[in-house]
């Protein structure tokens, strides 16, 4: 049994993926996640792994492509504009069915934006910025412990589906410290074990059939069949990877929807509202794709408004509306640009919204 340790988010994230079986890191420094490459450059060589600082984010994602194609468990971390640069690579990874674990410690945008926390990458990570029909599972933990638990499993999920898996944290989570329990390290594949564990990989084995890993399929019927195959896989992921936490929906007058640090802020707003006699509930999507649409069926007839609390101009509203299906008014409480609301601000705005919809 491991003991509780106090760790900075970024370092805990890095430790968690190493314990989850990752041995290869490719990255390019960017605030607010530069502690991750720093940690990896120090720790990976000690644990039989390799750290490589790429010349750019494009270099990093394509190094991970090569690593994954060869059967290695690679990890990439970056922040919003860096993740934007990697979108082409993510489409290629999905097309070629190459696993990799991705972490976005997001900041304010658009463009180079600010280095303060943001959640305006919602559309980028759930809809994808690369070309073609592809999907990437995205998990948005709300505490460092939850992030550790998810990142620990992420390499196995990526391997299982032969697809990238992304974890979306925000700058606050990367910088804060919180006590965590670290899980026992998983076995990491050695290069001798890869041919048996991943027979599809280009592992340099002389036995068996030739492995081909690519996203180019020039014959339309071949590509069509391949895309259909990918979508059978995505349908499986939708069944198996959906994750959500619901609280107090039964008798809630108002229901918050929030992920990451904003869910913790909304959680405190719930307590403050309750002290004022207003019952609030919460739907906290932990997987942003697949999105937990069905959780919205649990909203009661007493609920007068569903409120998204986001560090974006309301990018999650589209998904919330798909879940709510017009049954209840949907509203937004937001701050952007790296500004953060306080729980008190959320309470005041919620009361205004309730007056307006009553």
């Amino acid at each position: 049994m491991s003991e509780k340790v106090l760790m900075k988010g970024n370092e805990a994230f890095a430790e968690a993926v190493i314990r989850g079986g990752v041995r290869f890191y490719f990255g390019y420094p960017i605030t607010p996640q530069s502690e991750i490459p720093e940690f990896m450059s120090r720790e990976l060589p000690k644990r039989g792994g390799k750290f490589l600082q790429a010349e750019s984010e494009l270099g990093a994602i394509n190094m991970a492509y090569g690593c994954g194609a060869a059967g290695g468990n690679g990890f990439i971390s970056s922040s919003s504009p860096g993740i934007a640069l990697m979108q082409e690579g993510m489409s290629f990874l999905c097309g070629a069915e190459v696993p990799v674990t991705l972490l976005n410690v997001s900041r304010g945008g658009p463009g180079i934006g600010s280095i303060q926390p943001g959640q305006a990458d919602y559309n980028q990570v759930t809809r994808g910025g690369g070309n073609g029909d592809y999907r990437i599972p995205v998990f948005a933990p709300a505490s460092i412990q939850e992030a550790v638990d998810i990142l620990y499993e992420a390499p196995s999920i990526a391997d299982k589906y032969r697809n990238p898996v992304m974890v979306l944290a925000d700058g606050l989570m990367g910088q804060m410290m919180e006590p965590v329990m670290l899980p026992e390290p998983k076995h990491a594949f050695t290069s001798e074990e890869i041919p048996a564990a991943k027979p599809w990989a280009i592992s340099g084995s002389e036995k068996g059939e030739r492995s081909v890993v690519k996203s180019l399929r020039l014959q339309p019927e071949v590509l069509e069949a391949h895309v259909e195959h990918l979508y059978e896989k995505y349908a499986e992921m939708e069944k198996e990877l959906e994750k959500v936490e619901c609280e107090g929906l039964e008798d809630a007058e108002v229901v918050f929807v929030a992920f990451g640090t904003m869910a913790r802020l909304a959680r405190e707003a719930m307590e403050l509202l309750e002290a004022q006699g207003i019952k609030a509930g919460m739907i906290r999507p932990i997987s942003l794709w697949p999105y937990p649409y069905r959780a919205f069926d649990g909203i009661s007839q007493k609920t007068k408004a569903v409120i998204s609390v986001e560090l974006s101009m309301g990018q999650m509203l589209q998904d919330i509306n798909l879940g709510v299906k017009g049954r209840v008014p949907v509203r937004l409480i937001h701050r952007v640009g790296g500004m953060l609301p306080t729980s008190l601000e959320v309470v005041e705005k919620t009361k205004k919204i309730l007056e307006e919809v009553r």
């Binding site: 106090l6 303060q116 700058g171 606050l172 804060m176 913790r264 405190e268 306080t342 729980s343």
Partner: protein
């Protein structure tokens, strides 16, 4: 005490982030829940630094961000001016009176003037000013057990730094002894 919200501010190099971290470690050792959140930005030595600590004795900390604090420590004048308003009514404000010659303006809070740098100098190690201040805070607001502060001190000041343990323990109690 169910939840205690604390805020530490000063200039880079004054040990502001360390004060918050020591407290967070002590809370963890005492089996409490705690979060430590630093301000971050394009900052440098001598620039401003602050951190927020939330300690919860029973439940997990819901929110690491605060809109008011039970206890605020200010180590320099800009921090006093900026963060006096953060103290909740009836809360405590700890002012490093060695570096701040102004008085707090509010009368709905408890203000403690702690000459942290002067006390540290008298003890013979100017760098223990933050420990003096942390000791003052814990003696007024016992948010964590003193033994747990000792535990993190013993871990921090070990090996090459072992000679700093005793002076830090003395510094921790120095302000309380003068009262």
């Amino acid at each position: 005490m169910a939840v205690n919200k604390l805020f530490f501010a000063g200039s880079g190099g004054q040990g502001v982030l360390t004060m918050g971290q020591m407290l967070t470690y002590a809370a963890m050792y005492a089996d409490m829940n705690a979060t430590w959140l630093p301000s971050y930005g394009p900052e440098m030595r001598g620039g401003t630094a602050n951190c927020t600590v939330v300690i919860s004795t029973d439940k997990p900390v819901s929110c690491p961000l605060i809109y008011e604090a039970d206890n605020v420590v200010v180590m320099n004048l800009p921090s006093l001016i900026k963060f006096e308003s953060l103290v909740k009514p009836g809360g405590n404000l700890f002012v490093n009176s060695s570096m701040i010659d102004q008085k707090a303006t509010r009368d709905d809070i408890h203000v403690y003037y702690v000459p942290a740098n002067d006390i540290a100098m008298k003890l013979g190690n100017a760098r223990t000013a933050n420990t003096v201040m942390l000791g003052a805070l814990v003696s007024v607001a016992p948010v964590v057990p003193v033994e747990m502060i000792y535990k993190i001190m013993e871990k921090t000041f070990s090996g090459r730094k072992a000679h700093l343990l005793d002076i830090n323990k003395t510094a921790f109690h120095a302000w309380g002894k003068e009262q």
